[in-house]
Amino acid sequence: MTTVAVKTATTKPATMAQALNRAMRDAMAEDPAVHVMGEDVGALGGVFRITDGLAKEFGEDRCTDTPLAEAGILGAAVGMAMYGLRPVVEMQFDAFAYPAFEQLISHVAKMRNRTRGAMPLPITIRVPYGGGIGGVEHHCDSSEAYYVATPGLTVVTPATVEDAYGLLRASIASDDPVIFLEPKRLYWSKSDWSPEAPAAVPGIGKALVRRTGTSATLITYGPSLPVCMEAAEAARQEGWDLEVVDLRSLVPFDEETVVASVRRTGRAVVVHESGGFGGPGAEIAARVTERCFHHLEAPVLRVTGFDIPYPPPMLEKHHLPGVDRILDTVARLQWEN
């Protein structure tokens, strides 16, 4: 997979929200074909302010407030991409994207294939997803299982500020449609990314070992990465040295990095917010079992959100995978020293 050059920012992006904004701004400045569109992305700068200032800087033709209609937004983006533009579409909230699913599945995901490569669609679909922000119903879904089940879609999700920038640049540069899942509770996470730091992050399709360890591998992505990092720190008190793999990209799935890690540690736990049944963790656990069976000391376990509709804000803390649940699950990997 290609490595994406990360342009040295003149001002240090302090939060993931700013890094995303910066990524769009740099992409728009470099390529006049890049167009940002969606509900409220103009004057308001998006409900999360991720598109803040883009309309002012590039004009309303490049950063367009559309009518409130997700199928129309994505459908129009298809036509724009057919004509050679590179639309970056904002879906505002995870569950608001559902009206656009027909466009997504019947057209966006398939256009390259049905035209035998003659008409690729370079559309980036930004979907703020996941919970933990106290949002009411329909504002906190983890909808990644729907996307990863659809051939033709690339599905990425950053967990760090530098990845927010690097992966969004890579997504906009991709000639394939990309579902760019933004963990909305990490929008305001601070960065230790220095503009003078390494000038590149790995591109789409590469998982990263965020913490090395020997006892077991936590396989995770997006909003669950900081939780897993915290769990790994806490696990030291139990005498466990946990490795943490950040997938970054769900499709394509970097099986090699995951498999290499699990073969080293012999134990694996997959962690994500979305429901377990038919969730990405089910696929990952199956793949790890297929590839690592003889290296495994224990079954591959999963820590996921419950298989329930997303709960009301006052109960969401019981639903979301937290440090304790991760540690309890790690304990079930049954060490005998």
Binding site: H35, D61, T66, P67, A69, A71, G72, L74, G75, A76, A77, V78, G79, M80, A81, M82, Y83, G84, L85, P87, P99, E102, Q103, S106, H107, K110, M111, R112, N113, R114, T115, R116, G117, A118, M119, P120, P151, G152, T154, S174, D175, D176, G205, V251, P252, F253, E255, E256
Partner: protein, 383 residues
């Protein structure tokens, strides 16, 4: 009546007009005429362009023959399915004829004839229906979007493409086709609304052929006509006799002209009839009577034009024969081409899913390759 004359149209629900408000500068009335617009058989036919009408005639005859040939190919098992446009040829032909080379056509699955009339090789147009691939042509080369099977979903694409072209300063109009059933879909609404808000150079052509498979228009909409729907979006709605190719050509041309000159979108309802069943899988006798079909057969698009042109001395027996001969040649070529078995490579299944094949697809491709090799080996051993 214009929209400004509608009762209550002057009363605004806004306390003050928002800054972005721009009054429509286009004076075209929004409401459709109460009756479908007709030219053939009316005094308006006096202004017909003889050369254009003779071309229309030849295209209609060819289109009818194409329909007959494609239907025959379905019976022979050469096509998986063919949604016929017998009776609707004037809509299909006119849609293709009014577009310039740089314009784009967005057809539905029923509109292969429009694609053929635009110049697409009939075999390429029928690839989807034969079943060897989903799209048989390069959309950019012909400026014809892939035939859309989901209803109305191609309409927002037309809007987006036209919008993009206008942003780039290109002189491009998009013409999107949809059936009466498709007007009930959400994508129809969203496309019409986007087109009007963006003043995109788009023409929506609704072929009201009476039925969405078996469901009649009366169960599809409570609107007086489908053309009335345009009013709510702020674009002109036109009601036209879809079997009158002169009227179709005129109304579509006017809409394309308006779009090209920055006047925004138009929605046209062509009132026509699907003489044949929805597809070969449909039994039309379950939902409509012979009398209705016969009445529409008496209003045949080819006969309407033929009658007009012969009465005016613009078409003679030789002209009719020449059109039929050209149509037969097309049919014979189509037959020959469709009788040749397409050569398919199963390994194509894994191509063009992504720009770069994923590891998962490479594994699955290797599995199929091994299966194919084993089958070939077996065949070799058996002979």
């Amino acid at each position: 009546m214009t929209v400004q004359e509608l009762p209550g149209a002057g009363a605004s629900h806004r306390s003050t007009p928002p800054p972005a408000w721009r009054p429509r500068t286009d004076a075209a009335p929004l409401l459709p005429d109460p009756e479908p617009y007709r030219v053939l058989g009316t005094p308006a036919a006096d202004r017909l362009d003889p050369e254009l009408m003779r071309r229309c005639y030849a295209e209609l005859v060819r289109g009818r023959r194409y329909n007959a040939q494609a239907t025959a190919l379905t019976r022979q098992g050469r096509l998986a399915v063919y949604p016929s446009t017998v009776g609707q040829e004037a809509c299909e032909i006119a849609a293709a004829m009014v577009l310039e080379e740089q314009d784009w056509l967005f057809p539905s699955y029923r509109d292969t004839l429009a694609a053929v009339a635009r110049g697409l090789d009939p075999v390429q147009a029928l690839t989807l229906l034969r079943g060897d691939w989903h799209t048989g042509y390069d959309p950019r080369e012909h400026r014809i979007a892939p035939l859309s099977t989901p209803l109305a979903t191609q309409l927002p694409h037309a809007v987006g493409l036209a919008h993009a072209a206008r942003l780039r300063g290109d002189d491009v109009v998009a013409l999107a086709m949809v059936g009466d059933g498709g007007t009930s879909e959400g994508d129809f609404h969203e496309a019409m609304n986007f087109a009007a808000v963006w003043q995109a150079p788009v023409v929506f052509l609704v072929q009201n052929n009476g039925f969405a498979i078996s469901v009649p228009l009366a169960k599809q909409t409570a609107a007086p006509t489908l053309a009335h729907k345009a009013v709510g979006y702020g674009m002109p709605g036109r009601l036209v006799d879809g079997n009158d190719i002169a009227a179709m050509h005129e109304v579509l041309s006017e809409a394309v002209r308006r779009a090209r000159s920055g006047g925004g979108p138009t929605m046209i309802e062509a009132v026509t009839y699907r003489i044949e069943a929805h597809t070969n899988a449909d039994d039309a006798t379950r939902y409509r009577g012979d009398a209705e079909v016969e009445a529409w057969k008496a209003h045949d698009p080819i006969e309407l034009l033929e009658r007009e042109l012969t009465a005016r001395g613009l078409l003679d027996e030789a002209g009719i024969k020449a059109a039929k001969d050209a149509a037969e040649t097309m049919a014979a070529e189509l037959r020959d081409a469709m009788n040749a078995e397409p050569v398919l490579d199963p390994m194509d299944l894994f191509e063009n899913v992504y720009a770069e094949q994923t590891g998962r697809l490479r594994e699955q491709a290797a599995m199929l390759r091994a299966e194919l090799d084993a089958a070939e080996q077996e065949e070799g051993d058996g002979s």
